[in-house]
């Protein structure tokens, strides 16, 4: 009993340290976004200022096309998310459950692509899209991300773990293969799908290099890319950037709050073995 207590005190202290180091930068950005410029660059730095203002939020909206960026980001992130979880779960299921020639080979091919860094495919991908005239278009942003090796891997791992009996019971209950997938397998994969959706949304929302590369036009920029570029264009004003960052984080934060339950469940890959 005593040992467990000691153990939990230690781990709690550790967790608190980690928590502070994770939360502190966010807090700094949040507080700074309400400070005026002088307070932000004040030296020595102070966490809190005497005076708070909403001016940064107004400014950022005036300096860059925030609304456009938000809409672009939403189209990009949601488009990628919906298409990729659909395709990832299809392929994951096929690789886990269907018997066909070359199944293992395809699986390895998918796995190998996980280990190719973006830097290597970046230029050829750009040239390819450019050839197709897809730079500065939504399909150009979305299609290259329509499946992810990680998503396929994750869905396959999940479907592999489901007992074979389940599909057989369903077959005896009169379901065809599509019905088995949509009525039995997919509902069971809900936590995984939600986790994957959040990963995907977060990934796209925060993605910087890729959307910056695929869009050259101001009106096609996503939030992350747009915000990253203000510094260069308008001499650095930290306040508006902080405000922009907070605005860009808000949607993810809200999604995460709602889906937290599934997120934890899905990450733990738990609870499905009946």
């Amino acid at each position: 009993m005593k040992r467990t207590n000691k153990h939990s005190v230690l781990s709690n202290i550790l967790l608190i340290i980690v928590l502070i180091s994770v939360v502190f930068p966010f807090l700094w950005v949040l507080v700074s976004s309400f400070k005026n410029e002088a307070d932000i660059i004040n030296y020595p730095p102070k966490m809190f200022a005497g005076h708070y203002t909403l001016a940064n939020y107004v400014d950022i909206w005036k300096t860059i096309p925030m609304t456009r960026y938000i809409i672009n980001t939403m189209i990009y992130a949601v488009g990628v998310c919906v298409i990729s979880i659909t395709l990832d779960s299809f392929s994951g299921y096929a690789l886990a459950r269907m018997r066909f020639r070359g199944r293992t080979f395809f699986y390895y091919v998918v796995m190998v692509t996980m280990f190719i860094p973006f830097a290597i495919t970046m230029i050829p991908l750009f040239m390819e899209l450019s050839e197709f005239g897809m730079i500065n278009t939504y399909p150009g942003l979305i299609i290259p991300h329509a499946t992810t090796a990680f998503g396929i891997f994750m869905m396959r791992s999940f479907f592999v773990g489901l007992p074979e009996d389940l599909a057989e019971a369903a077959r005896l209950d009169g379901l065809n293969e599509f019905q088995i997938y949509f009525r039995i397998m997919l509902p069971l994969a809900k936590p995984q799908l939600i986790t994957l959706a959040i990963f995907s949304l977060m990934g796209s929302w925060n993605d910087l290099l890729y959307p910056m590369l695929m869009t050259t036009d101001q009106s096609m920029r996503t939030l992350a890319a747009g915000l990253a570029l203000i510094g260069g264009q308008h001499i650095t004003y930290y306040g508006p950037v902080m405000a922009g960052t907070i605005i860009s984080m808000l949607p993810l934060f809200i999604i995460y709050m709602f889906a937290q339950k599934y997120f934890i469940q899905g990450s733990a890959m738990s609870g499905m073995k009946e």
Binding site: P163, D165, A169, L172, D173, G174, P187, K190, E274
Partner: protein
């Protein structure tokens, strides 16, 4: 009326170069309770799955109710199946699990409701209907799996080791429950198990399998009393039949090395001589309960005694199992609790020659 008939059924899995089931022949009659029994990997599940349509038939003819069913879809075969791991849909409640098959078959809501509630009453599951399978114990889940089959009202039930995930006590009570259900529902049932006790207690007829081939088909009594070969003799019955490889000199059966000598009855000896076993060896099979230690019997049968030492003895209430050894030869005697002895004791026993089986040592087939 429902019947299942398997005619020369073979199964070879893709990528495997041996048959997993060879020349399976069986005529299942209406309302019969058939049990496939055999060691793991002998092809019981494969055969059952071919009947259900979950596995293709490589060769042979499967008829359900007289109609060839080889290529019929599983759902069109008039069968309901219970799986070893229950195979309940985890995301549905008990009610939905039972109702699902009917819903897919487009039954109307009232009908489904009536059937599900009826099955739940039979199985004592009413209070669990709104729960998810994960909230149930193993026994309750198995009951839901049965319920799912019952609501279908299918004339043929297939069950693949439905009790093997339950603990021993529950297994015994579910055994009786399934037998009771079978009687009250008037279904034709094919039940797979590797447990010979289940087979003996539940079956109308047992199909004993080994290495993909049927060894013997018969009532529990037939299979127990007249095993067709060494395998069936050894597999059916617990503790298993004792086998002795003995030399036959026309009169006596002997195992010189272990000091065993049995004087055969004249007509037994005559038959063996007729079949040409004089001067050859033979396998004698005898069930533990036919190696007798009670004084009266031993005194009356002094020519068929065996004089071993008890190595282990297990007193099981009214009876005792004596694990004995004479030189290198082990054998088991099942005796009345009165004759129970502790390990280390020498115990003279006598074979009941009315109840022995002779097998050819090469073919291992019984000599009639």
């Amino acid at each position: 009326m429902s019947s299942v008939s398997l005619e020369h059924i073979y199964k070879k899995y893709d990528g495997s170069d041996e048959y997993s089931v060879t020349d399976f022949n069986l005529e299942v009659k209406d309302k019969e309770f058939i049990v496939f029994v055999g060691p793991s990997g002998c092809g019981k599940s494969t055969t059952l799955r071919m009947i259900s349509g979950l596995e293709e038939i490589t060769k042979g003819t499967l008829k359900i109710n007289g109609e060839v069913a080889n290529t019929k879809a599983p759902k069109d075969r008039d069968i309901a199946m219970v799986f070893q791991n229950y195979a309940l849909y985890p995301h549905m409640t008990v009610y939905q699990n039972m109702a699902f098959g009917l819903k897919m078959r487009k039954y109307d809501k009232d009908q489904i409701d009536k059937r599900v509630k009826h099955a739940a009453t039979i199985l004592g599951l009413t209070e669990f209907l709104p729960k998810r399978p994960s909230a149930l114990s193993g026994g309750q889940r198995q009951r839901v799996a049965l319920g799912r089959a019952i609501v279908r009202d299918a004339p043929i039930f297939l069950m693949d080791e439905p009790l093997s995930n339950l603990d021993a006590k529950l297994r015994v009570s579910m055994r009786t429950e399934i037998a009771r259900l079978h009687r009250s529902l008037d279904t034709t049932t094919i039940y797979v198990t590797h447990d010979q006790t289940e087979a003996m207690t539940m079956a109308d007829r047992i199909v004993v399998m080994k290495d993909g081939a049927v060894q013997q088909i018969g009532t529990p009594a037939e299979v127990y009393d007249n095993p067709v070969n060494v395998f069936v003799g050894g597999f059916i019955g617990a503790p298993p039949m004792n086998f002795f490889t003995l030399d036959f000199d026309g009169k006596y059966l002997t195992d010189k090395k272990n000091g065993i000598q049995l004087l055969l009855r004249t007509e037994q000896a005559r038959k063996l001589i007729q079949r040409g076993y004089e001067g050859k060896s033979i396998i004698l099979g005898i069930r533990p309960e036919n190696i007798r230690v009670d004084k009266e019997f031993v005194v009356a049968h002094p020519d068929t005694t065996i004089n071993g030492e008890i190595v282990v003895s297990e007193l099981l209430g009214n009876e005792s199992q004596l694990y004995c050894k004479v030189n290198d030869k082990n054998y088991i005697a099942k005796v009345n609790a009165r004759d129970h002895e502790e390990p280390g004791t020498k115990k003279v026993a006598s074979f009941d020659l009315d109840r022995v089986h002779f097998f050819d040592p090469e073919t291992e087939l019984v000599l009639k």
